[in-house]
């Protein structure tokens, strides 16, 4: 009994210590004046985390938009309100699904890769050898990946939204026969720039910070072994996904609550 309690306390303390290490890692990685070299590294990482994530983001955006249009139509048609399909698709994408699904996919597609890459760098002692050559691995390895993630995610989420709305248009208008004009005009009338698009962007920036941070820290903090890397990768995806969903609830309550 007493042992169980002390174990609980120990794991609590370990988690708090990990949070401290993660904050210190981020602070050290970002607290310096940006150089040209950093910019070049960011561009290279943007290719890895951004451009290579494009296919999965675009395809899932299209399908999610199409599914919402289907489901929405079958509900709205009962009330004779199928012309409201446009705002329904657009609002659910812009406010919720765009940022959240992009972040979840990003955690699975790019976050896991970041964790594995950095974990392997640590295991093969590349990070230590960088330190021996007086190169700060936090600045050369962590910082560009972090910024690349933060820049890439809002852009990916915007493309996801646009493709999703197009998918909703395809199913709703082209297939199910909702009126073309009212689909777009009611959508345009019911969406506000600040409330819907702005808040969606804020969400995706927050999610980007969370997902990239979790992924980088788990790689940096991985135990240097094959097992350690696999555990770190799993943990990175699980924690990042849970964090995104939890943060989404808090942000939604703050933005749309009152």
């Amino acid at each position: 009994m007493i042992q169980a309690i002390s174990q609980l306390g120990a794991s609590c303390l370990a988690n708090i210590a990990a949070l401290g290490r993660a904050s210190m890692m981020l602070a050290q990685a970002l607290w310096f004046i940006p150089t040209r070299k950093l910019l070049r590294d960011i561009v290279r990482q943007l290719y890895v985390v951004g451009v290579l994530s494009l296919p999965i983001i675009l395809v899932s955006g299209l399908f999610i938009g199409m599914v919402i249009a289907f489901q929405g139509y079958s509900i709205l048609v009962d009330f004779g309100a199928e012309t409201s399909l446009g705002p329904m698709v657009a609002l659910s994408l812009l406010r919720e699904l765009g940022p959240v699904v992009t972040a979840l996919l990003f955690a699975g597609r790019a976050g896991s890769a970041l964790t594995a890459e950095i974990g392997l760098m640590k295991t093969t002692e590349q990070l230590s050898s960088m330190e021996m050559m007086a190169v700060d691995p936090l600045r050369r390895v962590i910082a560009p990946r972090f910024w690349a993630g933060v820049i890439a995610m809002p852009l990916l989420a915007s493309m996801f939204n646009l493709v999703g709305i197009w998918g909703g248009f395809l199913v709703g208008v082209e297939w199910l026969g909702v009126d073309d004009g009212s689909f777009w005009s009611i959508m345009g009338a019911s969406i506000e720039f600040g409330q819907d698009i702005g808040n969606g962007l804020i969400k995706s920036v927050v999610f980007a910070l969370a997902v990239t941070w979790v992924a980088l820290f788990n790689g940096y903090d991985a135990r240097p072994s094959a097992r350690g890397i696999s555990q770190a990768t799993t943990r990175s995806v699980v924690y990042a996904s849970l964090l995104v969903l939890g943060l989404d609830f808090i942000l939604t309550a703050l933005m749309f609550g009152s």
């Binding site: 561009v43 290279r44 943007l46 290719y47 951004g50 451009v51 494009l54 009330f79 004779g80 309100a81 657009a90 812009l94 820049i151 890439a152 809002p154 852009l155 990916l156 915007s158 493309m159 939204n161 646009l162 709305i165 005009s185 959508m187 345009g188 009338a189 969406i191 506000e192 720039f193 819907d196 698009i197 962007l201």
Partner: protein, 155 residues
């Protein structure tokens, strides 16, 4: 000059993302960055505003000519006072105009329908800050049913 293929792809990616954002905000949200242009304020007193909300449209013959800015209750006679933001580009309406609260469709959102009065020499127009005198309240379904039931039992 040699163009780095990687940089080109990343640049294209960033441009594509920004373009998506621009299309979302301009085309989908239908927002004009200039807003609705200059506007002036009118007031209207109703007996019952039903489900009217701030940002509900004010329409003349179906054309949106303004929006509801805020809804308050006059503390003297407990009548709702609606503040309207009218777009200046449609000009000013004659004093004899009437406002009624209408519903779009059977269950749709409520809006203010403005009926412009005749424009004649001796009739002034509704300047900024004026109050629309002739108003018709929203139809409340329960009251309507009550009236029907009352008239049925009368017979």
């Amino acid at each position: 000059m040699k163009v780095n293929k990687l940089e080109l792809t990343v640049g294209g990616f960033v441009l594509l993302g920004l373009a998506a954002l621009l299309v979302l905000s301009l085309k989908i949200a239908d927002s004009q960055f200039s807003g609705d242009g200059p506007s002036y304020t009118l007031y209207a007193r109703f007996d019952n505003i039903g489900g009217l909300k701030p940002r509900s449209p004010v329409k003349v013959g179906g054309v949106v000519v303004g929006r509801v800015e805020k809804i308050e209750l006059d503390s003297d006679d407990f009548a709702p006072v609606v503040t309207l933001k009218m777009f200046e580009r449609y000009g000013y309406f004659p004093e004899t105009s009437s406002a009624s609260i209408l519903t779009a469709g059977l269950l749709g959102e409520q809006y203010i329908g403005l009926n412009p009065g005749f424009i004649m020499e001796d009739i002034e127009s509704l300047e900024a800050g004026a109050t629309i005198e002739d108003t018709k309240s929203a139809l409340v379904l329960e009251e309507l049913i009550g009236k029907v039931l009352f008239s049925l039992t009368e017979k």
